[in-house]
């Protein structure tokens, strides 16, 4: 079954407290050379049948309404195996 991936990230201008907490933990693990961490979400949707333009458009709508909040997040949709 084809898999459609929706990546959701906090917008650059929105504070990301989780990413900041992860960044703060890195030096404690002796991990250096990282200047910023942003934490997002990845959704994998297994689609029945082919990923037609119509299916893709519906997933785009889903991504824009439920999977992300456009006020604070951006999203990107790609079909696994295809270039993002």
């Amino acid at each position: 079954m084809p898999k459609v991936v929706v990546d959701v990230m906090p917008k650059p201008e929105i504070l990301d407290p989780q990413g900041k907490a992860v960044l703060g933990a890195l030096p404690r693990l002796g991990f250096t050379g990282v200047s910023e961490v942003r934490q997002g979400k990845r959704f994998e949707l297994e689609v029945e049948g082919e990923v037609t333009e119509e299916v893709r458009a519906r997933i785009e709508h889903l991504a824009a309404t439920l999977l992300s909040n456009p006020v604070i997040e951006s999203y990107a949709v790609h079909v696994e195996g295809e270039p993002a």
Binding site: E13, L15, P17, L66
Partner: protein, 222 residues
């Protein structure tokens, strides 16, 4: 007035909200998230809690509950709607209110008696207060940081849509110390602190929250 209080899966403060509605002089009507029916109420409260376990984003799944379709339609016609804490998150997710709530900047849950300054007092939920009045209302949240882009913040400040602002200390990183906002018309109000927990001397830090529930009477006869 008949005031509906919605219960979502994971709502915590629906019973307290119904009690506060009663203390405010109104009849509380329990509404169920799964019913696309407002049972003829005159106003709606979306209570605090962790609807759907805060999965996805706080309020994101509740926003699509059957009852919310009715709430959105009624709100657009001018029905008073108050969202408290998780209810505020649901209203922002519904885009009935501008902005969004994100995780507290300090990453910890906060629970405290919070000083606030009331700013917009011409709404059906806040008319019992004086503009600039300072009140203490308990606050408890993990994701209460109010954010919006600068243009939106400038607009809501310019239009007088900021309902309440944090005083003394900003408990969650909310931009411009914003604790509560309204829509342009003023019938929809959301805030992070919990006025329904500040209505009786026996169980709260005082009764400063009662005004949110007594204001409705003035709205009814306006």
């Amino acid at each position: 007035m008949r005031v509906g209080v919605v219960t979502f899966p994971g709502s915590l403060d629906d019973v307290d909200a119904r009690r506060a509605v009663g203390l405010g002089g109104h009849e509380a009507v329990a509404l169920w998230h799964g019913d696309a029916d407002l049972r003829g109420v005159d106003a709606v409260v979306l209570p605090g809690g962790f609807s759907y376990g805060d999965y996805l984003r706080c309020g994101a799944i509740s926003r699509f509950a059957p009852v919310m379709g009715e709430v959105l339609t009624a709100a657009e016609k001018g029905m008073p709607v108050l969202g408290i804490c998780n209810g505020f998150q649901v209203l922002c997710e519904s885009h009935l209110l501008p902005g969004a709530l994100i995780r507290n900047d300090h990453q910890r849950f906060v629970c405290r008696d919070q000083r606030l300054r009331m700013e917009r007092v011409d709404t059906p939920w806040t008319s019992a207060y004086d503009a600039g009045q300072e009140v203490t209302i308990v606050l408890k949240n993990g994701e209460g940081g109010y954010v919006a882009d600068d243009a939106t913040l400038d607009r809501i400040e310019g239009e007088g849509q900021v309902v309440a602002r944090y005083l003394d200390l900003n408990p969650n990183g909310s931009l411009r110390d914003i604790a509560g906002v309204s829509n342009a018309r003023g019938n929809v109000v959301g805030l992070m602190p919990h006025p329904e927990h500040a209505v009786e001397a026996l169980t709260g830090s005082g009764t400063d929250g009662l005004g949110f529930f007594t204001s409705l009477a003035a709205a009814a006869f306006a």
